[in-house]
């Protein structure tokens, strides 16, 4: 479903991605882990077509995201949901309007159908009663859940999560992960999740890839990651220093 081939990207001479290769099968979720600033979010934005690579390809369902333009790109993006690290809710709109916005603009649903759908999505993420509030009136966890409701409102086939639990307390973080898990079971989307939440995340995802210095250091199942002898992987999973582990 998603295939990344030999992807290179640099900013002002600084190489962020150096020949990344990755594949995510249909209906599976891949966790992308790695140190802050190692290029995880940049990789995710390439998959969404928000960035163009210097070299390499990102194939989503066979379509090269780097070459898609105009209507073709918009059509593909209609099948995609993206949960931003900050939520990226429209701050001039209420939570209800935020979730209803893509439905109003992209579908021919009637007002009462949109209302039913939005209320259903808000119920799924536990935000019933908060629909009239504005993003600035919500806590970090509520913003993430509202953003999740908005991303899921269009029944996406592909979901991209950019650090969905960063900045949240452990309990709220776990709630978000449980929510992602239940939504995945319900909608069967293909997903990539950029995260630091190891080993918590291992229960939710099917595969894990660790990115280091712009390259994929290790890719495998959660079990393989946990058993890895690589000092950087071990240090990341246990929270220790690579040298201590060596």
């Amino acid at each position: 479903m998603i295939k990344i081939e030999n992807l290179y990207k640099s900013f002002d001479g600084l190489e962020v991605l150096r020949g990344v290769n990755l594949e995510v099968g249909k209906g599976r979720i891949l966790a992308l882990i790695g140190k802050s600033g190692c290029g995880k979010s940049v990789l995710l934005k390439h998959v969404a077509g928000l960035m163009k690579p210097d070299k390499g390809r990102v194939l989503v369902d066979g379509h090269d995201m780097c070459c898609l333009r105009g209507r073709d790109l918009f059509t593909l993006r209609n099948r995609l949901g993206f949960l931003f690290q900050s939520g990226a809710l429209f701050d001039s709109m209420s939570i209800f309007d935020n979730v209803a916005f893509p439905l109003r603009e992209k579908t021919k649903l009637r007002a009462n159908e949109i209302t039913d759908r939005v209320m259903n999505e808000l119920e799924q993420v536990g935000l019933l009663g908060a629909e009239e509030k504005f993003p600035s009136q919500l806590s970090g966890g509520m913003v993430k859940r509202a953003a999740m409701a908005r991303a899921l409102a269009g029944d996406p086939e592909i979901m991209l999560f950019d650090e969905p639990t960063t900045g949240l307390d452990p309990l709220t973080g776990q709630t978000i992960l449980d929510l992602i898990d239940s939504c995945h079971r319900r909608l069967k989307f293909t997903g990539i999740m950029v995260t630091h939440e190891v080993p918590k995340i291992f229960e939710v995802v099917d595969a894990v890839a660790m990115i280091d210095k712009g390259e994929i250091l290790l890719e495998g199942t959660a079990e393989e990651i946990l058993k890895s002898e690589n000092s950087t992987v071990k240090a990341f999973v246990t929270g220790g220093r690579p040298r201590d582990i060596e």
Partner: protein
């Protein structure tokens, strides 16, 4: 050699940015003339750029007219031509000061706000979110503001002109004793329809400049100015300065070449 290389690099960068601005404007116009135009957003922007600017236009128009009344009367009296105060105030306002000062006021009041709002949407990834929904950010953010500026600037200029003329009347007729009939009579004789159209066409041009520059700077916040609050603040300052300078330069260009006029 180093200096030559640096100069060349700067020139290429400047050309690249100019090209990007040109493409941005071309896209904005292309989406403005192809459906769907978001009518509710357009009305909201007309309310923001136009209606909410009326008070500042009213004030600046009145005081500009009053100053013109004083200065004009004092200058014309030296030549015994104070009867021409009406045409002087009218022509100055209608052809030059009305369009230019209105545009500068709208740049300060609405233009800065446009850049800041779009800039914050850029750095908080709201524009990315819009794109990822498969929606065109030009149609939602740029086109309504461009069309609203095109509609509002000539109207605001017309209000500025009328208020300014009455400001001049207040000083020339009510305070300095010129006859009301002379003030308006001479104005009607000397101000032609072409003069009024010239001012309105100028203001329409300035509307495009304000929306173009302010939207571009907001939309590209982070690319040239750095992200974060500092990036938005820099983008806003750049937008106001560049719009104001372009308005004055374009005004000179329009006046001297009489293109569009």
């Amino acid at each position: 050699m180093d200096l030559v290389r640096k100069l060349g690099e700067s020139a290429i960068k400047a050309l690249f940015r100019l090209g990007r601005m040109g493409i941005f404007l071309a896209k904005a116009f292309a989406f403005s003339v192809t459906p769907p135009v978001k009518l509710s957003l357009l009305i909201k922007q007309i309310q923001f750029i136009g209606f909410q600017s009326i008070s500042v236009i009213f004030l600046t128009g009145a005081f500009t007219g009053m100053v013109l009344g004083y200065q004009g009367f004092n200058t014309l009296s030296r030549f015994g031509s104070d009867a021409f105060l009406g045409p002087m105030v009218g022509l100055s306002l209608i052809k030059e000061m009305g369009p230019v000062i209105s545009a500068l006021m709208v740049t300060g009041r609405a233009g800065s706000s446009i850049t800041a709002e779009i800039g914050i949407m850029r750095i908080s990834e709201q524009i990315d979110a819009l794109e990822l929904m498969g929606l065109n950010p030009y149609r939602y953010l740029i086109v309504p503001r461009l069309l609203a500026a095109i509609v509002c600037l000539p109207l605001l200029t017309a209000i500025f002109d009328v208020i300014g003329i009455f400001g001049g009347y207040l000083i020339g007729v009510k305070m300095l004793g010129l006859s009301s009939g002379v003030y308006f009579g001479e104005m009607v004789s000397y101000v032609e329809m072409g003069d009024i159209l010239e001012g309105l066409i100028k203001s329409l041009n300035f509307g495009v400049i304000i929306a173009w520059v302010c939207c571009f700077k907001g939309f590209h916040t982070g690319f040239y100015t750095g992200f974060g609050a500092e990036g938005v603040s820099k983008a806003t300052t750049q937008a106001v300065v560049l719009s104001s300078v372009l308005i004055l330069v374009w005004d000179y260009f329009l006046t001297s070449t009489r293109i569009f006029l």
